[in-house]
Amino acid sequence: MSVSEPTKAAGTGGGDAPTTPRRRSAWDDRKEAITNSPATPVYAALLGVFIIAWIVVTIDGGTFLTVSNIVNMLQRSVALGIVSAGQTVAILAGSLDLSVAFLISLSSLVTAEVMDGSDANIVPAVLAVLALGVVVGLGNGLIITKLRVNAFIATLGTALILQGLIQNRYDGPAGSIGDGFEQLGYTRFGIIPASVFLLVAVVALVYFLLRWTRFGFRLYAVGGDEEVSRLSGVRTHRVIIAAHVVCSVCAAITGLFLASRLGAGTPTVGTDGGYDLESIAAVVLGGTALAGGRGGVLGTIGGVFILAVLDNTFNQLEVNAFLKDVVRGVIIIAAVAVYARRSERRA
């Protein structure tokens, strides 16, 4: 991939009169990192959306800026936030995962069944679900890298496989959650629900992975340009497979969490929440490029919050649930279109 053309416009190449480029100081670079971080515009947009929502809801007669409402929005962000964190990793690698919704459903069912109403089974349940995430992630990763099937089809196929398995075995809610575990969904530390801490923990872990480990560095490299990475010796297949494992494990954790909220596992919890498309929407809104190599999980969480604010607003305005779907669809397309424009102008 030729890197030469884009930066000719940067102003220092070509031309006869030698123009000394302005010296870049460390401060320039740090300022650059903040202003040009893909996450910044997202949080600016979040602020904007927040303010508009506040105005609109208040005019309509509802209450927006209350502690309980904000906590409510946070609460509702947890599930989407966890799965979107994982989706971020997959998309950063230049791939994507459409099987998360069904994996979430299956995980909730496995959790509930293994736990079988008893808190003593928490550890086996968690282990089982994490193992499920790893297996599905490995499957996706291997199909994509070794069988050379593109990510969209591969994860779509996995989604269908999981869907069939779920429908075959389960008709409705199954299993039950131990009381203690169920509390996870409802406990609060002060005003902050325990679930938010779970979200923070997962996001922190993913952030850590991306920013501080060699895996994270190589992930960005592979997503940015697989061929260049390969020529530099990066084991690109391993990186992509690992990215899918991370994504699927996050989806599995989401299922675990949702099971505790619902008290049981259900076969539709993943698809009802639209977690496949919504997680991709959150990632794209958060500034991560669909092509990979650029972006991060902090931006994604910003995207998740934006979606949560919109959701909350629609609920307060008593907007029809189906209209929400329409808006979601439009947002996803618009977000990708806008970002496609931006990256095309830069490139």
């Binding site: 050379r148 099937v149 398995l165 397309i333 424009r341």
Partner: protein
């Protein structure tokens, strides 16, 4: 790259038989599979060999085959259309609500439904080609928009009813037909659309569409209006979904789930037929044969007592295997 230059100077020969042979050889694998599956079904259920039995199968498979034809145009130009299932649902629900058991409204509304299909197609095409949104995002988003919109409009549950003259399209057919007793309308429509699609692909449009999928820059430099070709492909897909919806409305009845998962079935069918994702190869006949094969497989599984729910799993495996296989073959080819 092998050089197949004959020794003597040869005027290139082309004959009709040559072209027919080539077309058959290209699609042979899927037809063999289809034949085997049909044979297995016949073994399990001898009634299948009788015209009514076989025609019932075709009637059931027709909507998917038509969807596969539409999806073929999109895939061969290098894109995906995931909105077709929701177009089907929209068509059924809108038909029921607007016609509301009044037979005089059937035909005008059918025209409207086709218009809806085409409009959705144009929108998909424009967003994908002008706004440069990847087609799977565009059409996935469209899926959400359509299903949300139609349920918002109907308030959650489909209302109204389809009159007999509408339902007959999907259910009945030409009576007192020689030998076959009844030739279902859906089969007739399938044949017409099938032949139309084959003719279209052999014409200038189809050849240019293949070129777009095969090598976009070569096509562009040869003067092909790439964006317009792709948009037209989406329109064809949208129209095929509308037709499939009309058939399904009669055949399966009105429900909110009528279109669910159909887009994935259509893609599976096309891929099964040997059409390569990314475009440029495969025939529409093979795509439709893929649809028939998929239906035959489900029928067979049913006969063997395999749970209907596992159909999805089977589909998932097939779609991965078909694309993996195509990918494997392609790596030797160019």
């Amino acid at each position: 790259m092998s050089a197949t230059t004959p020794d003597a100077f040869e005027t290139p020969v082309t004959s009709r038989s040559e072209r027919v042979r080539k077309a058959l050889v290209g699609t042979a694998p899927i037809f063999i599979v289809l034949f085997i599956l049909l044979a297995l079904i016949a073994i399990e259920n001898p009634n299948f060999l009788e015209p009514p039995g076989f025609l019932a199968f075709l009637k059931r498979a027709a909507p998917l085959a038509i969807l596969a034809a539409g999806q073929y145009f999109v895939i061969v130009s290098g894109e995906f259309d995931l909105s077709v299932g929701s177009i089907v649902t929209v068509v059924v629900v809108v038909a029921a609500r607007l016609i509301d058991d009044d037979p005089s409204k059937t035909w005008p509304i059918i025209a409207l439904l086709l218009g809806i299909g085409a409009t959705v197609g144009v929108t998909n095409g424009l967003i994908t080609t002008r706004l440069k949104v990847p087609s799977f995002i565009t059409t996935l988003g469209m899926l959400l928009i359509l299903s949300g919109a139609v349920f918002w409009w109907t308030g959650g549950a489909p209302r109204g009813a389809l009159p007999d003259n509408f339902r007959e399209i999907g259910r009945l057919g030409i009576q007192d037909f020689p030998v076959l007793e009844q030739l279902p309308w859906s089969v007739v429509i399938l044949l017409v659309i099938g032949i139309g699609a084959i003719v279209l692909m052999r014409a200038s449009f189809g050849r240019r569409l293949m070129a777009v999928g095969d090598n976009e820059s070569a096509a562009r430099l040869s003067g092909v209006k790439v964006e317009n070709m792709r948009t037209i492909a989406f329109v064809l897909s949208g129209l095929s979904a509308a037709v499939a919806g009309i058939l399904l409305g009669g055949f399966a009845g009105v429900s909110a789930q009528v279109g669910q998962g159909l887009e994935f079935q259509a893609i599976t069918a096309v891929v099964l037929g040997g059409v390569v994702l990314g475009g440029g190869r495969g025939t529409v006949l093979a795509a439709m044969a893929g649809a028939l094969t998929l239906e035959a497989l489900f029928t067979l599984l049913n006969l063997y007592g395999v749970s209907g729910a596992l159909e999805d799993t089977v589909q998932g495996i097939i779609i991965i295997a078909a694309v993996a296989f195509a990918s494997y073959r392609l790596r030797g080819a160019r």
